[in-house]
């Protein structure tokens, strides 16, 4: 009996914290503990969010943000995987990229933003290029590590069965390194989203980040908060989406059976 009780207590606690926070937010805002400007009530934020959904405003912003994110991310994914694989396979490529990657990976790439604006203008291309530049390094690092650490026995067996180099790459190395490469992509996609939002905030050009910044400049705090709620939802959905894709793609891998 006590165990059942504690189970219910845990479930209650688990679901309660978010509810309590939401209620405290609404109540605190209504009681005017802080001004409406600093903390608009939760209901007004949600209503605002709903209005923006109905009017389609948020869909435009969302579409722009996601488009930029995906454009930059897919460039980073393709380039990163190609570079990572060639680094692991060719000594000359490794010689060239090794210091560049080891220096480029920990750099705060966002500092290059004004340079990208200078080179690509303030519109979509600079944002996409910035995303690709920021997201490519985790993909390179993951692919490099993965392709280099493919089980030697697997490679030897394939070789002794008469695999050509090309078959080796497409049928052994790439599939075997998929889980790790995908982990790299799972790091790169949220990075892309963060960078897009920062770019939109600094350069404008609408999108979720741009809209939020405009709301801030016009002291429209429900707009700012509905922006942050929308961005939080998009962030979780993107992470969730990657998990589902990972599970789908790696059904054959032992990690899916755990």
């Amino acid at each position: 009996m006590e165990r059942v009780n504690s189970l219910w207590k845990r479930r209650f606690l688990r679901s309660s914290s978010i509810v309590v926070l939401a209620v405290a937010w609404e109540w605190g805002a209504r009681m005017h503990f802080v001004s409406d400007f600093l903390l608009p009530s939760l209901s007004s934020v949600l209503i605002r969010l709903w209005d923006d959904v109905i009017s389609g405003e948020i869909l435009t912003g969302l579409g722009l943000t996601l488009l930029r994110t995906l454009a930059g991310f897919s460039m980073a994914a393709v380039a990163g995987i190609i570079i990572g694989v060639t680094i692991a396979r060719f000594r000359a490529v490794r010689w060239f990229f090794d210091p560049i990657v080891s220096i480029g990976n920990p750099l705060p790439k966002i500092a290059f933003l004004p340079i990208f604006i200078l080179w690509f203008g303030v519109f979509d291309w600079s944002k996409i290029a910035m995303v690709a530049f920021s997201a490519v390094f985790p993909v390179i690092v993951a692919t490099w590590a993965a392709t280099e650490n493919v089980d030697k026995f697997m490679l030897w067996s394939a070789e002794s069965l008469g695999c050509t180099r090309r078959q080796m790459l497409w049928q052994i190395i790439l599939p075997a390194s998929m889980p790790e490469v995908f982990t790299g992509l799972q790091i790169a996609l949220p990075v892309s989203l963060i960078v897009v939002i920062i770019c939109e905030m600094t350069m404008g050009g609408e999108g979720l980040g741009g809209t939020m910044m405009t709301s801030m400049r016009f002291a429209d705090s429900p707009g700012v908060f509905s922006g942050i709620v929308a961005i939080a939802i998009v962030g979780s959905l993107v992470v969730k989406f990657m998990e589902i894709v990972r599970h789908r793609l790696l059904v054959w891998h032992q990690e899916s059976n755990v």
Binding site: W95, A111, P114, M201, T202, M212, M216
Partner: protein
Amino acid sequence: MPNNVFTRYLPLLLLAILWEIGPRLHWVDPSELPPLSAVGRAWWSLLMDGDLWINGVSSFINWFFGLGSAIIIGVLLGVLMARSQTIDDIASPLVKALYPMPKSALIPVMILWLGLGAGSKIASISLSCLLPVILSAYNGARGVDQTLIWSARACGATDRELLWEVVLPAALPEILAGIRNAVAISFIVLVASELLVGQRGLGYLISFLGEGGVYDAMFAVVVTVSALGFFADRAYLFFMRRTLLWRE
């Protein structure tokens, strides 16, 4: 050995040479990519004028307090969550819900609450770095070998001793790895928040010079910030290895 180091970093040298001669020979427009020597000269004059120092110190203060508070609060909260079922039940749904949020979205709200000065930057950095630290401390402390805890208990360790002498050291590798993530995030948010608003800091200096069209100086500051980020990561890695020496 020096020969090895030379061949290893030769690609960077080649890129640097290319950076110098490319704009000089007008392969690329020098106004879009000033030659390396011009950037170097601009860097030197920024250093001598004190611009780099004043803004660097202001950035450093934001970074230090933002990251520092995130580490202290994050480790504390993460360990508490791992040690107490009730706190875990209350906090972990929130942590899980907020973890995937793109952290940069916090900056406008912090500006709204704390204004354009240092406060909003410190708060943005702190909040952005908090979740990775909490999560690593939580995972680290939960992963502590149960036999270690039982043995310590059997030897009569108090709760306090258990925390300081068993749980924290055992969770340290994971915590330190989480903090490394946080260091990377802290630089991103620091620069982003300074690019966005403010009258001080290296990020501000970059956007100020860029808007003024002083591109050689802008490149100089970008290179400086990148170098700082790089060396912070390397220094942290060195510190991390030193701290974990006892684990082989």
